[in-house]
Amino acid sequence: MTQARTARQAQHASHSEPAATEGELWLGMYRQMVTIRLFEEQVNDLYKTARMPGLAHLYSGEEAVAVGVCAALRRDDYITSTHRGHGHCLAKGAAVDRMFAELLGKEAGYCKGKGGSMHIADQDTGNLGANAIVGGSAGIATGAAFSSKMRGADQVAVCFFGDGALGQGIVYEVMNMASLWKLPVIYVCENNLYNEYTHYSETTAGGLTARAQAFGIPAEEVDGQDVRAVYAATSAMVERARLGEGPSFLLCNTYRYYGHHVGDIQRAYYRSKEEEEHWKTERDPITLLGGWLTEQGIADAAALDQMTQEARAEVEAAVDFALNAPFPDASEVDQDVYA
């Protein structure tokens, strides 16, 4: 399937949004990946300067997965996310200012400061929530797909999870049912090579895509640093899901630039600096797309730099907004326990 054809299909599917040219589509993905990268750099800085409570799991290096997948979705399609979820939330349409506000525990945050980094949910963009239990959202995503089918809607659900979730039983229980009942769900496995601090090869027997194939779920493995490849594969899976043909499994090979969380800075015992440098210099998703855009004549270096500066200004303004935003009133503590 050619990139152009899948791009047109996505435009056709995104009937609620104005049609973009193919070039605009790739430029939009570039801008979104840059925004996520800059967002995470700010999060790291907020944490290191003790202005952010708690902890955060940064998505830097994996941007092409969230952006390529979400670009193939409609606004009313569902996603579920993970503890490393900032990229998914932003790619699905969350605003940077309310994201930062949530990370800082502010009233203006997506969850009024009650969720924090690992629990951002935004029903307006179909985001059913990041989840701090590894594999914990597999049921929710599959249930959203089940609900879509029951209601006669054509919404698709995407379940993002990492290589670590392949160790969790619920993932296999719901994949079995999704296949049995032809549910419109796409399981997107982001293999960033590490289950926290342990290489996945030490925890994961057998083939990764073979797991889905055992349930009769078509599985595809793509270069998770190539946003165009992620987008193309997802678009075909979305089309299949909307046609009622059932679930798919997308394995995206990617890499986590930072540690498991912001405090994980001594990483030599589980991976080498050389390995990290290799991914950053040779396999960076933003550099790869930028190179392709200039080669194709869709944008020149100056235009890409201009986009980066705009994104930087937006992110910095959002941080200022969040830092200056008020905390929730103390009386909020026992509100929203029950609906």
Partner: protein, 341 residues
């Protein structure tokens, strides 16, 4: 506080049938399935088999396999799917065959369903119902006999219902399905064939409203689920001994009608809390603390508890029968508290 006896007296002339607990539950589900297209039932052998207890027999014939859905043996999977479906517009009723299996679904209940409304700042909700069982003495041994409602009563965000009669089972289940929060409803598997009056007219029972099953003046017997019958049997005998026992059933653990428990204990000045869950750290402790706190100056004796013995439920009948509170145990304790020993 509403009392079903009052309600039933008012409607007695207007068609009251005797239904078993199982029939009352089935009727509640059928009415809600008819009323609301977003309601569905999912579980192991819920369709043609109608569950091993035959509680759901006939539902698939009326509502079809699209809404009465046989699942694989995947408790956590069907509960997780229920959470996601509930978050996106459905009202799932997930059937967990034995209460002992809630260990398998605990993450989806306690970390997902219970917390999504709060964690999302009040934006998302999970109107999920989990139906499951409690109760020993079925000779089903340690993994099919426990009463584990204390586990879920501990978690903020969940509601927990414990019906003790066919009337309460129907009204509480209908309320559970209409509730916008996750609800776990425990049915005593030994009471599915128990009969009781159920009006033909539609009704619901609000959560958090205790019911006085028997009025008395000398001692309060707070009893849940299976233990309501035990308490009522004990009260009969106590009456002959000149002790007037009041039997009060909280009907829901969460929310708990603390005011009703305290009011009854203040009136009688003595209280025993009886429940089939393990006594140690069980719901009896919570209710006893509520009474001790709220009725302290009116009590003539310490608040006492009777729960299941803190042992795995044994298989052998002579052993198993020792583990559950009996009318005799209630009578002996009540006599002691009333100074009749």
């Amino acid at each position: 506080m509403s009392t079903p006896s009052t309600t039933l007296n008012q409607t007695e002339s207007a068609r009251v049938r005797e239904l078993t607990l199982a029939q009352a539950i089935r009727e509640a589900l059928a009415e809600e399935l008819r009323r609301d297209a977003t309601v569905y039932v999912m579980g192991e052998d819920v369709a043609e088999a109608g569950t091993p207890f035959k509680v759901l027999s006939g539902l698939v014939e009326e509502f079809g396999p699209q809404r009465i859905i046989d699942s694989p043996i995947s408790e956590v999977g069907i509960t997780g799917i229920g959470v996601g479906a509930a978050m996106t517009g459905m009202r799932p009723v997930v059937d967990i065959m034995f209460g002992d299996f809630i260990g398998l679904i605990m993450d989806q209940l306690a970390n997902q369903a219970a917390k999504i409304h709060y964690m999302s700042g009040g934006k998302l909700q999970a109107p999920l119902v989990v139906r499951t069982t409690l109760g020993a003495t079925r000779r089903s041994a340690a993994q099919h006999s426990q009463s584990l409602h204390a586990w879920v009563s501990h978690i903020p965000g969940l509601k927990v219902a414990l019906p003790s009669t066919p009337y309460d089972a129907k009204g509480l289940l209908k309320s559970a399905i209409r509730d916008d929060n996750p609800v776990v409803i425990f049915e005593d598997k030994m009471m599915y064939t128990l009969k009781g009056p159920v009006p033909e007219e539609e009704y619901t029972i609000p959560f958090g409203v205790a019911d006085i099953k028997r009025v008395g003046t000398d001692i309060t017997l707070v009893a849940t689920s299976s233990m309501v019958q035990v308490a009522l049997a004990a009260a009969e005998t106590l009456e002959q001994l000149g002790i007037s026992a009041e039997v009060i059933d909280p009907r829901t653990m969460v929310p708990l009608d603390t005011a009703a428990l305290v009011a009854s204990a203040r009136k009688t000045s003595r209280a025993i809390v009886i429940d089939e869950g393990y006594q140690r750290f069980g719901v009896t402790a919570e209710m006893a603390a509520v009474i001790a706190d709220g009725a302290f100056y009116d009590l003539d004796a310490p608040v006492k508890r009777l729960g299941a013995m803190d042992v795995p439920i044994p298989f052998s009948p002579v052993l198993e029968d020792q583990t559950v509170p009996t009318p005799t145990a209630v009578i002996e304790l009540a006599k002691t508290l009333c100074g009749r020993v």
